[in-house]
Symmetry: C2
Subunit: 332 residues, 2 copies
Amino acid sequence: MSRVLLSHGAGGREMAELIRRVFLASYGPPGFTGDDSAALALEAGPLAFTTDSFVVDPIFFPGGDIGRLAVAGTVNDLLTAAARPLALSASFILEEGLPLSTLTEIATSMAETARESGVAIVTGDTKVVPRGSADQIFITTSGVGQIVRPGVSGAGLRPGDRLILTGSIGDHGMAVLLAREGLLAGEDIVSDAAPLTEIVLRLLESGCELHAMRDPTRGGIAAVLNEMARQSGVCVEIEESLVPVKPGVAAACEALGLDVFQVANEGKMLIAVPAREAEAALALVRQCRYGEQAQLIGEVKSAPAGRVQLLTRLGTTRFLAPPSGELLPRIC
Amino acid sequence: MSRVLLSHGAGGREMAELIRRVFLASYGPPGFTGDDSAALALEAGPLAFTTDSFVVDPIFFPGGDIGRLAVAGTVNDLLTAAARPLALSASFILEEGLPLSTLTEIATSMAETARESGVAIVTGDTKVVPRGSADQIFITTSGVGQIVRPGVSGAGLRPGDRLILTGSIGDHGMAVLLAREGLLAGEDIVSDAAPLTEIVLRLLESGCELHAMRDPTRGGIAAVLNEMARQSGVCVEIEESLVPVKPGVAAACEALGLDVFQVANEGKMLIAVPAREAEAALALVRQCRYGEQAQLIGEVKSAPAGRVQLLTRLGTTRFLAPPSGELLPRIC
């Protein structure tokens, strides 16, 4: 068997074989057993629960693949709730004819990213649809995590807070777009897809007061900062010159007429802390993997409530609007 | 806006509007908030965690739709682990151009089925792919539940156990197949898609000793009984004349050359109990919604281990083999 067949999704012998040879071999026991439902031991306390589907095109791109994205994305969503990721599920919709070697490569990448995240893939599902009814492979991951600091959300910004951004923006969206369109190859633009477990758990363990966290994925930091400002009833003010953008990404955005503030990230976090904690928190983030380039990019004011103000490199101030329209389809 | 657009999946204004108008309106607060991650209050104790993707074609069929299926399927998977369903996530992959009225109808059906199941849809995600990259709508649901009786699994069969089947087999698979092919319309063949919360929770609350539970979906009772026999290292013996099959379903299977034992169910449970509990458990199941037609269909022997024996209507005995091959694609 070298390609995915309809029989691999039919609930019979072939499906059992696929689970054994691909998923059990990649994820491995004891976490993953191949059962329909997994049993998790938990401490008492609130649980975070999240889900995301991944339909990225192409499925392999500089810096990652759909599997790494599917694991890191759901891990990061748990982290934004100040939760320690406990377990993931992974459900596949496969197009008949997908090479099994491709599926195995993706499952291996998921297992590696899960290990890096300190989490196990414990249960899953596989459906196969006839050729032409889906595009190669779609993955939905869900995650559960133990909330270690209740109440951290996008709505927690307070006037006076400082905003930490854990690194450069626009890398993921541009890497996928350029790979898909075959544009500007060689520009060394690489997805940032990564699990941010170390950054968030070390901040939580340090006792640092955290008011809000969000990962700026679809719609970029423009979408997420606007949501945070609106949910919190505050104004977010950021300084353009403080927001890290890699030169290649900046050039590609300019060439394609894209606003880098609206381009998706898959390994970045926006973290709001009280001013008195800002320098210590920044120093801690910079010690962590994927946080070396972190910056303080702005602060929270009380008015105009619900808006994001950008201090531009020219010294002017403008509102950073929430994105609308098509942006970039199938970026995650 | 009357159709799903790529912008509905892009993370900007249109996506926020879709979440508000379709998902928040259907599922409703307080359970569903539209946030990336939901926080659940839990009692201490083991947690069940499960996921399934749904790609059924057609998306509406006699007796249900893809939304009802997606909720009932995940609820039933939690129940097989002897867990009280607590919360569901729902992630959508939508084809550009899907009528929003269709999406709303499906979300409404999901909300109704969730209410019937005693569970809330608390979080979700939406991706939109260009026309032709997916077939209308795929849904992945995940669920968490509090395990009220640890250790109930497909591997728990013991010699002497009796097997309860909660109703007739083959209804779902045949309803979907006939709807898809436009065959035998008017035969009153209706999907059994339903959440079995009442049956399982009442059995658990009664204190009845339960050795194993499984819901016979893809691959039918032939697949699930073989798995249970293999995992438990026992022989399952069932009597053909005791297995309820509706006349229309039996006739359609015969006409199409299908083995009804291999046809999918979406609202049935196989429950193994010790012989001394069998009559009381059966009486209790029959008092419950979706359990009125329950039957004792067989018993568990020690040998030949890992096999399923069928006592036929002709008085002969044959092995019921696990299914293989394509069976029926896109049945769930």
